[in-house]
C-alpha cells in the first residue's frame, strides 16, 4: 500500500457547485479537488447533501450553479451516460443492481458503453457481434474474479448475499473502465468482517490506478482508508483535510461526530 505522491494532478475539481430543489439548498457552494490516485472521503450529517453531490457529479442532477471539472474537462450538466463514458463510475447508497439479471449480465451492462456492435449486427448476429460478446464476457468474468464473486456469475443479482451484491455493484462500476470511482456508503449494513474485506477491495481498486471518492458514515472505514476527507453540513463544506485533522476539528465534532466518536 503506497501513499500517492503529493503532487499528483487533479482528477476532479468542484468549483462552487450548488444544487437547490425549490427553496431547499441541498448542496451549497461546494468546492474541493481530488488528486489522481487518492482515496477521498465525503462525510457529514444526514441531509448534508452528500448523495445529492454524487448525483450532481454523475449527471443525474444538473447543478443550479458551479462547475465540475473532470480530468481538465468541464462535465457540468452532461448526461449520466456521457459522464460514465468519460470515466466516472459509481455505486449507490441503496444497492441498485439489475435484480433479475445474472451477475454476469450486470457486469456486461457496465461494459455497454465500450461496445460497438450496431443494430444491424444485433439483428443478424454478425460475426462482429459474436466476437464482441465473447470478449465482453471474458472481461466480465475477470472483473467478477477481481471482486471475488466469480462463482456467482450465473445467479440472479437479487439472489446474491448482501455483501456480494455490494461487490457486484463495484464490479459493474469497474466494467466501464473508470478513472474515478464514486462509492456511496459501501459499508452500510456490513458486519465488521465485511467491512474489513471492503476496505481491502477499495485499496485493491486504487492500486489499479483508479481514484476513489467515497461517502461513508462508518468512521472506522473512513479513517482507515481515506487519505483526505471533506465534511459537509447543510450543503456547506465545513472542513477538509487529512483524517487526523478532521477528527479533531471542533466544528466537525459539534455538527457531525458528537462526543462519542
Amino acid at each position: 500500500m503506497t501513499a500517492p505522491e503529493t503532487e499528483q494532478p487533479t482528477i476532479l475539481a468542484l468549483q462552487g457547485v450548488t444544487k437547490r430543489f425549490g427553496g431547499l439548498t441541498a448542496v451549497g457552494n461546494a468546492s474541493f479537488e481530488i488528486k489522481k490516485g487518492e482515496i477521498f472521503a465525503l462525510i457529514g450529517p444526514n441531509g448534508a447533501g452528500k448523495t445529492t453531490l454524487f448525483n450532481t457529479i454523475t449527471g443525474l442532477y444538473k447543478p443550479t450553479a458551479g462547475q465540475i471539472i473532470f480530468q481538465g474537462r468541464d462535465v457540468t450538466g452532461l448526461k449520466p451516460y456521457r459522464i460514465a463514458h468519460l470515466g466516472i463510475a459509481r455505486t449507490f447508497q441503496q444497492i441498485r443492481l439489475f435484480a433479475y439479471m445474472s451477475a454476469l449480465d450486470n457486469v456486461r451492462i457496465g461494459e455497454h458503453s465500450r461496445m460497438h456492435a450496431k443494430l444491424w449486427d444485433a439483428v443478424f448476429k454478425t460475426g462482429r457481434a459474436r466476437r464482441e460478446e465473447a470478449k465482453v464476457t471474458e472481461r466480465a468474468m475477470e472483473l467478477l474474479e477481481f471482486v471475488g464473486i466469480r462463482q456467482q456469475a450465473h445467479n440472479y443479482a437479487r439472489n446474491l448475499p448482501y455483501g456480494h451484491q455490494r461487490r457486484l455493484e463495484i464490479a459493474r462500476a469497474l466494467a466501464s473502465d473508470p478513472r474515478l470511482l464514486l462509492l456511496d456508503e459501501p459499508a452500510a449494513g456490513a458486519n465488521p468482517q465485511e467491512k474489513r474485506e471492503l476496505m481491502e477491495l477499495v485499496q485493491k481498486v486504487r492500486s489499479q490506478d483508479i481514484t476513489v471518492l467515497l461517502i461513508e458514515h462508518d468512521m472506522k472505514v473512513v479513517m482507515g482508508i481515506s487519505e483526505r476527507i471533506v465534511v459537509l453540513d447543510y450543503g456547506e463544506k465545513i472542513a477538509e483535510g487529512k483524517p487526523q485533522e478532521v477528527r479533531t476539528n471542533p466544528r466537525v465534532i459539534e455538527a457531525y461526530l458528537g462526543k462519542s466518536a
Partner: protein
Amino acid sequence: MALLEVDSINTFYGRVQALHGVSLSIEEGEIVTLIGSNGAGKTTTLRTISGLNPPAKGRVRFRGRDITGLAPNRVVGLGIGQVPEGRRVFHRMTVRDNLFLGAYVRNDRDDIRGDEEQMLTLFPRLKERRNQIGGTLSGGEQQMLAIGRALMSRPKLLLLDEPSLGLAPIMVDTIFQVIRDINQRGTTILLIEQNAAKALAVANRGYVLETGRVVKEGTARALLESPDVQRAYLGI
C-alpha cells in the same frame, strides 16, 4: 407470562425461506435487541410479528393472545407499534398529520391532542417543523417523526427496525438516548440494529440471528462478552 412470544416461526418470500424456526420472547419493560448481518432475517422477524409477512409455520403470541396471521392494522390495534426500516414517514403530509395518523387506531380525540403535544415536547426539532411536510425533513428528523408517530398509538411494544441506519454519528447518539427515554416511560422495545455495540449497550437482552436462525441468545452483557459475537459483530 411474556409480553411477546414468538414460537418457532418459518417465513417465506415466495419460494425462498427467510426464517427457520425462530423463537424469542420479550418480557414487559425490556429492551431486547436482534443482531445479525444483513439478510440474517432480522427485518423478516419484525415483519412477521407485525403481520406484514405472516409465517407459514409457528405462532406469535402477544399478551397471551395468539396474533399469528392477523392483519397488520389489527396488530397495531392490539398494542404493537412499529418503526419500519427506512423510516417511511408520509412525505406529502405535515408532521402533525403524520402524528395524527399514528393515533389512527385510537378514538379518544382529546387524549390524542395531548399526546401530540407530548411528542412535540419529546422531539423539540419536530415542534419547530410541525406544519412542514414530511419530505422536507432531514434523515434524523424523519427518524424522530417515525418514532413519535409509532408512539402515538400508545403501544405496549415498540418494534424498531435499524433506527440508526444511514444517520450521522451525532444523530445516532441522540436516537439511542431517545430509545432509552421511551423505555423508561414504560414501553417495551424490540430493537434491530446492525450497530451491535450500541444496541447491546442499551438492551437488556439480545438474540443473534444467522441465516434465518437464532444462533445465540442471552443478556446484553453476556453477548457483549461472547468471543463469537465480538469477532463477528463488534469488530474487536
